[in-house]
Structure formats: C-alpha cells, structure tokens
C-alpha cells in the first residue's frame, strides 16, 4: 500500500526546524548554523542539504529550477526535480528567469538573479578551515575568534608551491567582513556573483549538517594577497562553439580522435536560450 506523501516530503515540524536554522543563517551572514539533517530518499553527499532547504521553502505557487554542474538535464538534477514534483506538484522550469527557487550544484547561473529569486547551493564541505584543523571544536573556535590565518595559509602554501592560487573551486570568501565561508564548489568565476547579489543565497550541507547564507546585497570578498590578487578563470579569446557567448564559464571539450579543443557554455539553459533568440531573429529577418 502506498500512502500519499506529505506536501514537500517533510512533516511540518521538520520544515519549521530547517526554516529556523535558515533564518538564523540569514541573520548571521556566512555563519554555519548546525541543523538536524534529515534522512532523505537520496544519499548524503548527493545534494541532500540543498534538497532539504528547497523542500522547507517551497510553496504550491513556486517554480523550481535545478541545475547540476550547469546542466538542467543531468541525472542528479532530474532526480531531485522528480522528487520535488512528486511530493509537491510545483511547476518546473529550465529558464533561470522563470524560476523563483533555483537549486544548484557547482554553478551560479550566468543570467543575473533577481531579488525575488532564491538560490540554493548544495555544499559537500562547508568548513573552509577543515584542512587547518580536523577538529570541529577547534575550527568553531577559530570562527568565533575571527582567526582566519589558516585560510590564508592554505592559499599561501599554494602560491609557494605553484606560484599562484590553485583553488579549482570553493575559493574561500569573507562574508560581510566577519565570517570566512566556503562558497560551495563553484568555480572562482562565480565568486564575484555572490557579492552584493540581488537574490538570497542559501547553502546547505546535508552530510555535514550545516546551513549558511549570504543575504541579498551582502559584501562578499574572495580571499587574496596584496601581491597575488584574486583572479577569475580566464576564457579570453575563446567563445562557445554553439551560441558564440564570451565572458561566460566555458567547458573545454577535447575531440579524442583529432585532439582538437572546442569550448561550450557550461550553463546549458543559458546557451539554449541564446540559440533560440538568435533563431527567432533569423526568422524575423528572413520575413522582412
């Protein structure tokens, strides 16, 4: 016998607890609020933190978009969308502009977000100081005392060894001049999008049982040294081979047979959108 699932999977008590943690997180930008991470129908480490945030926030009129590494159609994104739809019946979309809750893994959409949207990021490792000390009570103390020399030390070590900062993703950020935060494994390219963002950004780590947030219009600075400033990944001189976009985060695709490299938008819905627009224009032009 299959019983009808409760709206948004959780019982109301669970939703309340998660919302309370979320409110606290918004009130203290960048501070990791512990919460009772629920057992979910997907495995921990597969986006349960983000999913719990989404499920606690979602209402019947909301429109949801889920991305996984920039793609709307990848397995993880599709499974999460199916689960939310099954338990809530809300509308789903690929269009960044149409959604008011966007759950994402590893990317912030290329299209600028608005103040009526919420971005939910899935976080595997919320603790930027974990490499400095493995003990939670020690890292908590460092956060409390505003002692972030360890976070800089990690970057210093990279510079000493490789003459540059080598953070591939999750380059630590100073939020509101107080807490150092792991911005989830987004590329450095997306770090500046967090600064003074119009949309509320919520971050959830299901396995590590933490929720934290960047409220709208909050100062977010990426950690850097005076003589080694923060830099985004550069795609200068490269463009998407499908839509021709420049100044977006590009995937490099190597043709195994010929060894040729082509570049393509990582944000698939942004790319498709641009293609559709250019096609519309073509059609208009040919009529005229």
């Amino acid at each position: 016998m299959q019983t009808k699932p409760h709206f948004a999977f959780f019982d109301e008590g669970s939703k309340k607890e998660i919302r309370r943690a979320t409110l606290k997180a918004v009130a203290i930008p960048g501070y990791q609020v512990p919460f009772a991470s629920r057992e979910m129908p997907i495995a921990r480490g597969w986006g349960t933190g983000g999913l719990q945030l989404t499920l606690s926030l979602i209402g019947k009129k909301d429109v949801l978009k889920v991305i996984d590494q920039g793609a709307d159609e990848s397995v993880n994104a599709v499974s999460i969308k199916k689960l939310v739809r099954h338990t809530t019946g809300v509308a789903l979309t690929d269009q960044t502009a149409e959604a008011n809750i966007i759950q994402s893994r590893h990317r912030i959409p290329e299209e600028p977000l608005r103040d009526d949207q919420i971005l939910v990021l899935q976080v595997p490792n919320p603790e930027p100081l974990r490499k400095v000390d493995a003990r939670e009570y020690m890292t908590k103390r460092m956060h409390a005392e505003d002692d972030y020399s360890g976070a800089w030390l990690i970057l210093f070590e990279q510079i000493i060894k490789y003459q540059k900062m080598t953070t591939g993703a999750a380059h630590p950020v100073y939020v509101n001049g107080r807490y150092v935060m792991a911005p989830s494994p987004i590329p450095r390219f997306d770090n500046p999008k967090m600064h003074a963002s119009d949309a509320l950004i919520l971050l959830g780590a299901g396995r590590e049982k933490k929720i934290y947030a960047v409220p709208p219009y909050t100062k977010v600075e990426s950690l850097a040294f005076e003589d080694f400033p923060f830099t985004k990944e550069s795609f200068q001189g490269k463009q998407c081979n499908l839509c021709g976009a420049e100044d977006v985060f590009l995937d490099e695709i190597i043709n195994q047979a010929t060894g040729d490299r082509i570049y393509q938008c990582n944000d698939t819905s942004y790319c498709v959108d641009r293609l559709n627009h250019s096609e519309e224009k073509e059609v208009e032009n040919s009529y005229a």
């Binding site: 490499k131 103390r141 000493i160 040294f225």
Partner: protein, 279 residues
C-alpha cells in the same frame, strides 16, 4: 631610576580538581608534594610571582611535575589559570591584567607580543604544512598579507636558524628533531616578539644539536634583545642562557636570584640536591 619590567607575574594559581575541606585553605593544607590525598586535587602552580625585565633571560628550573610547563602554558594562554595577574608593559595593555582579557585580545597578544617554542614540535608546528608556511602562519596572523614580504622574511629567518633554503618547502615532519625545533624558533621570532617563551627546547636533542640550538638562542638574545623565559630541568642549559633564575618545586617558587648565585650557593635543600646532582 629603576627599570620597568616588561612582564609582571603575580600570584598565579592553577589546580586540577575541585579541592576539598582538607586542602582548600592554603594555610592548613597538607599535601603530598602538590597532591591532596583526600580528594585527588593537584595544585600544579601555587602562588607564583616574578618579574621579567627587557632583554633579560629568566631561567625556570625544577624537577618534572614541578609546574614549570603548566605555568608557561598559562602565561601563553594555552591553559586557563585559576587566578593570578599578569601585566605586560606595552602601551595598549598598560594596567590591564591580561589573564582577564577576551580570547580575541589574548590571541592578539599571542600573535604580536609573545613567541613560544614548545618542548614538542608537534604542539608548535603544523606538520602538514611546509616549513615556510609554518613561519608564514604567524606573520599572517599578525596581519601581513603580502606574499613577497612574508617569503623574504621567512627565508631570512630560516637562514638564521641554519635550515637550508632548498628544504623550505618541505614539511617539518620530514625533518630531524633538532631541525623541527629550529623551525619552531624561526616561527616564534617571525614578528619580532618582545617576549619569547622557551619550554625545554633542547630536551631530547643530541648534544651537538643541543649546542647549536643553544648557540642560536644566545645569539638571538644578544642581537634582538628579546626578553625570554627559559624553562628547563637541565641546569647546564640554565647556566648557559639565564641571567636570573627561579627554582620551582611542587608548584611553588622555592628560590630565586642570579643564576650564578643559585648554582654556587644554593639555599634551599632541594636546590642544593639539584646542584650537587649536576656534578
């Protein structure tokens, strides 16, 4: 005019345990060494007071378990002391008992005013980070955000402590005990602290390495005029380094004075025993 001490320590107390009616009153308590046999409370540091003057090396001797290291850890805020007062003669800390400051302010003192070399390099170094990174950590903590400056200063310090620069990117866990100790010293010196604590720095090192580490400390003291507190159970080390010394037994100071005087003419029974066992 009398010189102002840079560090004034008054009536430090540290106990492990609650205490009971037999031992709470210091006048009437009967302890087995520093241990109350009724309730098991250990009085690790009891009523310790002394002054440290600018540019001076103060030796602290005593048998193991006499409270030397606990006292030092208390001064460096590694452990909380039960009571006592510590004053540092620095403009922004004048007249304040630093033991009652907030943990942020204590961290400031650790990063800007104190340097510490632990007996065990595991306590003072991050073994997973490079040697240069370990030195950098202290400078970063003290507000330096310029890689070039940090690197240049670290290299100078590593050269000062005779660590070949080709090994600076190596982690200290690959180093010998003496080298680890020298990295610790370089780290402690990185932001020119006016006060340096040395806890059994040469214990466990072989004699030739001991000599070079002692040489280094002597040289630092001569050139940089840093005030130091040197804790050791080794009288030879104290004799070589310290101008003045205090002798501790069971958590209390039993004798203090010029090092030569203590060694030549020990007054207390225990000090006499200690000095004679040296010969």
């Amino acid at each position: 005019m009398r010189e102002q001490p840079i560090l004034e320590v008054r009536n430090l107390q540290k106990q492990f345990g609650e205490g009971c009616r037999h031992c709470l009153d210091p006048e009437t308590r009967q302890l087995e060494k520093n241990f109350c046999s009724y309730c098991g409370t250990v009085y690790a540091v009891h009523d310790v007071s002394f002054d440290l003057y600018p540019g001076e090396v103060l030796g602290v001797v005593g048998e193991s378990g006499s409270g030397k290291s606990t006292m030092l850890q208390g001064l460096y805020f590694d452990t909380d002391l039960a009571s006592g007062e510590v004053y540092i003669n620095e403009p922004m800390l004048a007249g304040q008992n630093v033991l009652t400051l907030s943990s942020q302010q204590k961290r400031y003192i650790r990063n800007y005013i104190y340097g510490m070399v632990y007996q065990n390099p595991l306590d003072g170094l991050k073994m997973k980070f490079s040697s240069i990174g370990n030195i950098a950590e202290k400078m970063i903590a003290a507000g330096s955000r310029h890689v070039g400056d940090i690197e240049a200063r670290s290299k100078t310090l590593l050269e000062d402590v005779h660590i070949p620069l080709r090994r600076m990117k190596e982690e200290p866990r690959n180093f010998s005990g003496g080298m680890q100790q020298r990295v610790q010293i370089a780290k402690a010196l990185s932001n020119n602290p006016p006060i340096l604590f040395l806890d059994e720095v040469t214990t466990g090192l072989d004699l030739s390495v001991q000599a070079s580490v002692l040489d280094l400390i002597k040289q630092i003291q001569r050139e940089l005029h840093i005030s130091m507190i040197v804790v050791s159970h080794d009288l030879a080390v104290i004799r070589m380094l310290a101008d003045r010394s205090i002798v501790m037994l069971n958590g209390t100071i039993i004798e203090k004075g010029l090092t030569d005087q203590i060694l030549e003419d020990p007054q207390h029974e225990y000090t006499q025993q200690l000095v004679y066992s040296l010969l």
